[in-house]
């Protein structure tokens, strides 16, 4: 394919996207609107295009295959954030009022920074803020954070599950005593968030943990990995982001550390994190809440009703079914389910953010529902409540074979009983600081 043809196709795509958005605006009334603070350019565009591509394709599937949610069509528009917090806030303000009468259901910025910056606004505007697999850990406590939903997995659950997996691999928790674990973390609030919980887990199980920071963006890690070599850890937990991940794997190999003893967290688990490291990444392990792949019935439906109809959102069709794309699909499933559940209570019509919030808080995705959704193995069982806005807290582990991820474990649950008091304490401190009176979840229906 020639460069000029390629360029022309992209320009044509951009023009059609503009026309599609314009036409969407014409018949948006009576529909349910999803404002998308997406990022398709800039340093994190690979994640943004995959995630928002999967999210949009799932909504497209609901419209095309089902005629919407109980007849209410879904509509959306995008605002480019480039993953920049100020732009994310600007996009939030621009989109929050809905689209031509279609009310906004929820925001899904897929950015810790933007989520933090719009948290108070979301609560004031009564629009749910969805931070699937990320965000503030204490927002799990819905009594203090009624509009924030770190669906599936918060950062504390993430590291707790990793330690549980290491315990399994070592032959039991008692074998963790005396082991050495290093956490190599991104030099940002996101990277540092799990330091206290790892210290608690180290104390509980008797292993030593060393936290080593990699300054953003993480293009140089020689000194960190030489330090790791000196420490001689049994395991390294990688809390990376973007370019930091392949560089970590390359530098691990360069300094002789076995990558099959490096465990990546939820933002170190995509093809884009492992593949650029080349052959040396073979054997690298990471967690996942949603495996890559296209064998799930819901993905088959997207292929049939959306992709083959020429309505797919991905620029590069080869990325269909990759980790970020499937996360977008999972996010779409959970958002649509929240709308569906809320419609059962409030009526089959476009809903306000406040009503959709109720839907999220009553999400109950069991095996039967997963079967109906065609998402068995793609989404874990989730049951949310006023007190628990996370709902799952389980992960599986996958290993990179040089070209693909292979799932190598069953679901490993975080120690949520251990984490809950810590989360409640942090949420209570936040409530005190902000003058929030927590809801009494015992009285919530």
């Amino acid at each position: 394919m020639s460069v000029s043809r390629l360029s022309f196709r992209r320009l044509a795509g951009a023009v059609s996207l503009g026309l599609a958005l314009a036409s969407g605006a014409v018949h948006a009334a009576g529909e349910q609107y999803f404002p998308l603070q997406s990022y398709r350019v800039g340093p994190y565009a690979a994640g943004g295009t995959g995630f928002f591509g999967g999210f949009i394709d799932y909504m497209q599937l609901i419209n095309t295959r089902d005629g919407g949610v109980n007849g209410v069509k879904l509509t959306w528009s995008e605002c480019e954030t480039e993953y920049v917090v100020e732009k994310g806030v600007e996009c939030y303000e621009r989109l929050k009022k809905g689209l031509n009468g279609a009310p906004a259901a929820a925001t899904n910025p897929l950015s810790v920074g933007i989520a933090y910056a719009t948290l108070d606004r979301s609560t004031a505007d009564r629009i749910p803020l969805i931070t699937i697999n990320h965000g503030r850990t204490d927002s799990t406590d819905g009594s203090v954070f009624p509009y924030v939903f770190p669906l599936q997995l918060n950062p504390y659950s993430e590291v707790s599950a990793i330690v549980n997996y290491v315990g399994q691999r070592e032959g039991g928790f008692e074998k963790l005593k005396g082991k050495k674990i290093v956490t190599l973390y991104h030099g940002s609030p996101y990277g540092k968030e799990t330091i206290p919980i790892l210290d608690i887990l180290a104390k509980k199980y008797g292993f030593t943990v060393t936290h080593i920071e990699v300054p953003h963006p993480g293009t140089e890690q020689q000194s960190q990995w030489l330090n790791i070599r000196r420490i001689k850890p049994d395991w390294v937990i990688l809390r990376g982001w973007g370019v930091m991940n392949p560089v970590a794997l390359k530098t691990a190999a360069k300094t002789g550390f076995p990558v099959d003893h490096v465990i990546g967290n939820i933002w170190s688990n995509s093809e884009d994190d492992a593949a650029p490291a080349g052959d040396v990444a073979k054997g690298y392990i990471s967690i996942t809440t949603h495996p890559a792949g296209t064998d799930f019935p819901v993905l088959k439906d997207i292929e049939k009703h959306v992709l083959k109809a020429g309505k797919g959102n991905l620029q590069d069709p080869k990325r269909f079914g990759n980790v970020y794309y499937n996360l977008g699909v999972v996010n779409g499933i959970l958002n649509v389910e929240a709308v569906r559940i809320a419609q059962a209570k409030f009526g089959k019509r476009p809903l306000t953010g406040e009503e959709v919030r109720w839907g999220f808080e009553h999400l109950n995705i069991d095996n039967k529902r997963l079967q109906e959704l065609g998402a068995v193995g793609l989404v874990q069982n989730l049951k949310l409540s006023c007190a628990d806005h996370e709902g799952g807290g389980a992960v599986r582990f996958q290993q990179w074979d040089g070209a693909h991820w292979k799932v190598i474990s069953d679901w490993v649950q975080a120690d949520r009983a251990l984490l809950r008091p810590i989360i409640e304490k942090s949420a209570a401190a936040y409530a005190k600081e902000k003058g929030i009176t927590p809801r009494n979840c015992a009285k919530e229906s």
Binding site: T219, Q222, N227, V247, A275, P276
Partner: protein
């Protein structure tokens, strides 16, 4: 002691990688006085074009030649389309122009080739090489070899060719060069083209090291302290500056980091650069400005 040497040598080799980017800056600054902030974007554009062509079935050298052609076209377009129209403007205007060009190149690169991350394999296994108990990176040694060849090639170009002679005279004094019949704009075009070639080489090495992705354009931030220390107008200075920055940041991270906190690798080179600025404003090998008052 072995550990200290490993950190030191690893830092020196990393510094060579920074120098590869810094050389592109030096070439353009030396010939035209323009601080080309777009050099990082040129590195990204080169690597992204090369790897995208490889993935579309081009053979290695075919992709290299096509990317080189694209880089030359880009370099000429910048020189002709932007900078030629800003001759005799203040340096800050030229700098802002290259800043704008940088964003345009980044945007165009993603529009043209997409936003996904690519792996780039140059066929160099990056397994550790043990020499007298010290682990060395094969890839970094290879990169250092390429950098040495590049510096040698540029030195020959500058010292043994007519075009090199013209380049040196333009670098010394634009007006005097014009007065003796040297076509200034042609020389600038050549320099931008050479900088495009350097960008391609740097892009391939950095792309193989990091993966080809948007963050490649951020390597420019590593080149800035190198330039301040080595001097903006010396290729040798870029190499020495790179070595100082690379070794300094690694040693600081390992030995000072545990005392004052991790993560100083990003800002420590700028501390070094500021110290050099205070003592030697033109850098180690830069030309001191002498003006009649």
């Amino acid at each position: 002691m072995d550990f200290f040497l490993e950190v030191l040598i690893g830092g020196l080799l990393a510094g060579v990688m920074y120098s590869m980017v810094a050389i592109g800056f030096v070439l353009i600054y030396k010939a035209s006085g323009v601080f080309n902030f777009a050099q990082g974007s040129m590195v990204l554009f080169a690597a992204l074009t090369f790897v995208s062509l490889l993935e579309r079935g081009f053979p290695f050298w075919g992709a290299f030649a096509a990317t080189l052609a694209a880089m030359l076209a880009l370099a000429f377009a910048i020189e002709r389309g932007v900078l030629r129209h800003l001759v005799n403007r203040p340096p800050i205007t030229l700098f802002m122009a290259t800043l704008g060009v940088s964003f345009i190149i980044e945007g165009l690169a993603q529009l043209l080739w997409g936003a996904q991350v690519h792996g780039l394999d140059l066929g160099i296994r990056d397994e550790p090489l043990e020499v007298s108990g010290i682990l060395l990176s094969r890839f970094d040694l290879f990169a250092a070899g390429i950098a040495a060849l590049l510096v040698l090639g540029l030195s020959l170009l500058f010292s043994r060719t007519r075009i090199g002679l013209s380049l040196r005279s333009v670098a010394d004094d634009h007006l005097a060069a014009l007065a003796v019949g040297i076509r200034l704009q042609r020389i600038w075009g050549v320099v931008w083209a050479v900088a495009g070639f350097v960008g391609l080489v740097a892009g391939l090495l950095w792309g193989a090291r990091l993966g080809v992705q948007f963050s490649l354009s951020l390597v420019v931030l590593k080149a800035l302290p190198v330039l301040i220390i080595g001097g903006f107008s010396s290729i040798g200075g870029a190499i020495v500056g790179g070595l100082i920055v690379g070794a300094g940041e690694k040693l600081a991270e390992v030995y000072v980091g545990p005392i004052i906190g991790d993560g100083l690798e990003n800002w420590f080179p700028y501390v070094l650069a500021l110290l050099f600025l205070l003592v030697r404003p033109a850098g180690l090998f830069g030309e001191r400005a002498i003006e009649r008052v």
